[in-house]
């Protein structure tokens, strides 16, 4: 699980162009949207594409996305349960 969380942090930084962040700057329970990393709606769409592309998970329910993208911790738990690749 720790490896997956590290991988997710690296992907988030790279794919969302968070130039001022390093893996160490993102705590497992940091809020991804709002006051945490400050991600926006386009970032949310980018994360949905990342789940599909990297882990074979298709999110179609917006409410499910809201619950999954709370933090790296929550996201990693969800991926480990639902991944198809």
């Amino acid at each position: 699980m720790d490896a997956l969380k590290k991988e997710l942090k690296e992907s988030i930084i790279e794919q969302l162009n968070l130039e001022d962040f390093t893996v160490e700057d993102i705590a497992d329970d940091d809020t991804l949207f709002g006051d945490g990393l400050g991600l926006d709606s386009i970032d949310a769409l980018e994360l949905i594409v990342m789940l599909d592309k990297d882990y074979g998970i298709k999110l179609t329910d917006p409410n499910e996305g809201k619950a999954v993208f709370v933090s790296v911790e929550v996201l990693a738990t969800y991926i480990s349960k639902h991944r198809t690749k």
Partner: protein, 207 residues
């Protein structure tokens, strides 16, 4: 009705050099890619605007040019908020359009990036400048083969004469693969330099 207008300040960014009012203020290694050049300038100016890194190269170029221009113009923030924007270029958003195309070419690996897709319109650069400076003035964007100073002059003059905006940010911002060129100038009733399409053409071609 013809009104004698002035240019307050002008900025050119090309060949990894930034010039304000005809004077070169920053020059970087010619071998730097535009992305690296833009990143260096952002860091050195300590712009503290993380959204910059999400922009495509066209918006980064427009953003940086407007930063230097507004800094040189020293306008009141209330005037900036009502500034009109009239920009133009040759390649539209082709540089980003190609990147988007790359993500959808393969049906078996079809993952269009929303973050890339949102920049597949050239006038998004006007939006980025407007968000940064809270500008709510009129705006227009034109695509033409070459910088058309006559068209820009007509449009900018019309906005000022019809009291849509007292100040107009005008110019040319073009990015296509490794080639880029930005030239912006601020036009108003009062300013340091005489303004006409001929003068602007001379400045553009000589710098």
């Amino acid at each position: 009705m013809k009104k004698q207008l002035k240019t307050i300040a002008y900025c050119r960014i090309n060949n990894n050099t930034i010039s304000i009012n005809g004077k070169s203020i920053i020059t970087k290694d010619k071998d730097l890619s535009f992305s690296d050049f833009a990143k260096q300038i952002y860091k050195e100016k300590q712009l503290a605007y993380p959204k910059f890194f999400k922009m495509d190269n066209l918006c980064k170029l427009a953003f940086l040019t407007s930063e230097f221009l507004f800094e040189a113009a020293k306008l009141d923030s209330e005037i900036i908020k009502h500034t009109g924007i009239v920009l133009s270029n040759r390649a539209s958003s082709l540089d980003t359009d190609r990147k988007h195309q790359d993500t959808i070419n393969d049906k078996d690996n079809y993952f269009p990036s929303p973050a890339v897709f949102v920049y597949t319109l050239a006038n998004i650069m006007i939006g980025e400048i407007s968000i940064r400076h809270q500008i709510k003035g009129e705006n227009a964007f034109f695509v033409s083969e070459k910088f058309n100073e006559t068209l820009i002059e007509h449009y900018a003059s019309s906005l000022i004469i019809n009291r849509k905006s007292s100040h107009i940010l005008c110019g040319w911002v073009d990015v296509d693969n490794n080639n880029y060129d930005a030239f912006m100038y601020l036009v108003a009733e009062k300013g340091s330099y005489n303004y006409s399409k001929e003068i602007i053409k001379n400045i553009y071609t000589q710098n």
